[in-house]
Symmetry: C2
Subunit: 331 residues, 2 copies
């Protein structure tokens, strides 16, 4: 039989989804970054929920303001990956006995900061006593159905791209959780990546508007997991010609003789977008995103062959399915 630790998050979700009756129309399938319901005239209500649990998702030194803001950001990031503007957020807040008035105020300010940075509002919620801090957010927005980017549209020959460089968060977590040190300016940048993550909403909205993006996902479970999930939904593979290594991750890896690939591929809690783009639309997409101050970095191509590999030192390395999984991983 087994317990949730034996099963892992993905199998648990599979067991649940199997037991649910499905609505007659499901414009976005189970397993994509968001859920949706048709509103008529090609319009969709787009919905997402994701829950932050204090003891599990909060690294040491993170303030309650930052924790609440992050709980919002991780939900907004899923909207970003679909190219959908979030309009409103509701929150179910579980508070421990003994939580102080100023803690509550910090959480409220963090929630408000998180939504306002991305043009949304908190419009409702619920509080409850709980044995740990629980922040379950629900985001709502609307989108034209043919504009919402699914995970499933990647085509062989498409360009594989990301909106930023990876590895700072994984390095920052090693500082906070494993006691690895770094010179102050570097350390500050690594911890900022952990404490103040950014959702790539402008990039996602802009990319969707170009009409050139064929598939997209956010990288909250790590770059490797994102690629595997895109593969599962699109039925294609990826050949990576380079890794999007943040210079800070590079320095940190050198300092501690770590393999920087581990920081970049298997980190998680990083909120870049991973996109596939029609080759003919690449320049348009890249220019549009640069115009709003963002980056679009090619890291490889989509292949018919369903393997996921990195060309590196004239060899090919398979990238395994490894990253953050609830019930199995420990930060």
């Amino acid at each position: 039989m087994g317990t949730v630790q034996d099963l892992g998050e993905r199998k648990i979700i599979e067991l649940i989804v199997e037991r649910l009756e499905k609505p007659p129309k499901m414009p976005v399938p189970f397993g994509d970054d968001v859920s949706a319901m048709p509103l008529g005239n090609g319009l969709l209500a787009v919905l997402k929920t994701d829950m932050l649990v204090g003891g599990l998702d909060v690294p040491p030194g993170m303030s309650l303001y930052q924790v609440a803001r992050k709980a919002v950001v991780m939900n907004i990031s899923d909207f970003a990956s679909k190219g959908v503007q979030p309009a409103a957020l509701l929150v179910s807040l579980g508070l421990r006995r003994g939580t102080s008035r100023s803690d509550v105020e910090d959480l409220a300010r963090g929630l408000n900061a998180g939504v306002r940075e991305y043009g949304a509002y908190v419009i409702g919620g619920d509080t409850s006593e709980a044995p740990d801090l629980i922040i379950a957010c629900m985001v709502f927005g609307t989108a034209e159905s043919n504009r919402l980017i699914r995970r499933s549209g990647a085509q062989a020959g498409d360009i594989l791209a990301v909106t930023g460089l990876f590895g700072k968060t994984a390095a920052g977590l090693r500082v906070l959780l494993h006691g690895l040190d770094a010179p102050t300016p570097l350390k500050r940048r690594l911890l900022e990546a952990v404490y103040l993550p950014q959702a790539r909403l402008n990039e996602g909205l802009t990319a969707a508007k170009t009409g050139e993006v064929t598939a997209s996902i956010d990288s909250s479970d790590g770059l490797a997991v994102s690629l595997h999930e895109l593969r599962k939904m699109s039925g294609k593979g990826f050949e990576l010609s380079s890794l999007p290594v943040a210079p800070e991750a590079e320095s940190f890896a050198k300092l501690h003789r770590l393999d920087v690939k581990d920081l970049v591929l298997y980190g998680g809690e990083e909120y870049e977008l991973v996109l596939t783009i029609r080759p003919g639309g690449w320049q348009k997409a890249q220019r549009s995103i640069q115009e709003i101050g963002g980056n679009l970095i090619q890291i490889g191509v989509v292949t018919e062959n369903q393997s996921i590999c990195l060309r590196c030192d004239r060899k090919k390395m398979e990238i395994p399915y490894r990253g953050w999984e609830h019930f199995r991983s420990q930060i």
Copy 2:
């Protein structure tokens, strides 16, 4: 300063709401049973979130199927009170380490049963490890703005009515938590009220369609709290001519020499609707609800005077603000 226990749920929510920037249009104010966003053409997206916490909200003997179903029902009940059909539900599910595969399956079946009873579907969610069972549901539906019944519309002279009799749940909880006993057939009915609560969705939808309901709320925090919350939002009072006492509550109160008024007024976890109805529309509203197999029971009238009192034995008794409040109450 104080902690959340000193503050209580209502003050906590006030502290949070004060720190939130408000959207330019808020078709339903903070503090009503649901939240809403305008979709254009007089249509609203209606949203609600409410969280169930295992150790707090689950009485002994309740199966995981029943717990998950109840987590759905308590959210649907808020839609019922507004006269809005729920379309879809998302769930953030927190599971303890050691939760078994069959536990997960029971929870999934309970979630599905809950939504399907009321014509909705589970369309997405998220699972996470947590120190206790957490079921945070988020419900979505759409409604015409002028059809959604607010808490704020009660007028002096309106009829005060409820959709069913009260007190069974409070009696059932006294059986389960305080060890009070009852003869088997009575006990079975009391426990069923606790384990398998029903949301009055058909009644709420039908009442809204008549156009005769001026205000409405559900009774999940108890009848007394519902009346006080309606008063706060409508700025009117209530004079009750009778209490809607369930015969089972009456029998149980006699058996244990309890005051049945306590069971009826201050129980909570009961999901009847409390409505105010234009006097000229009373017969129409009552007939419509009877036609779908429901009940609409007059218990009093709305008064300009903002007190809430019960006429009883030729005396008037004030009904205090007392009932379930998170962080303060203990089941």
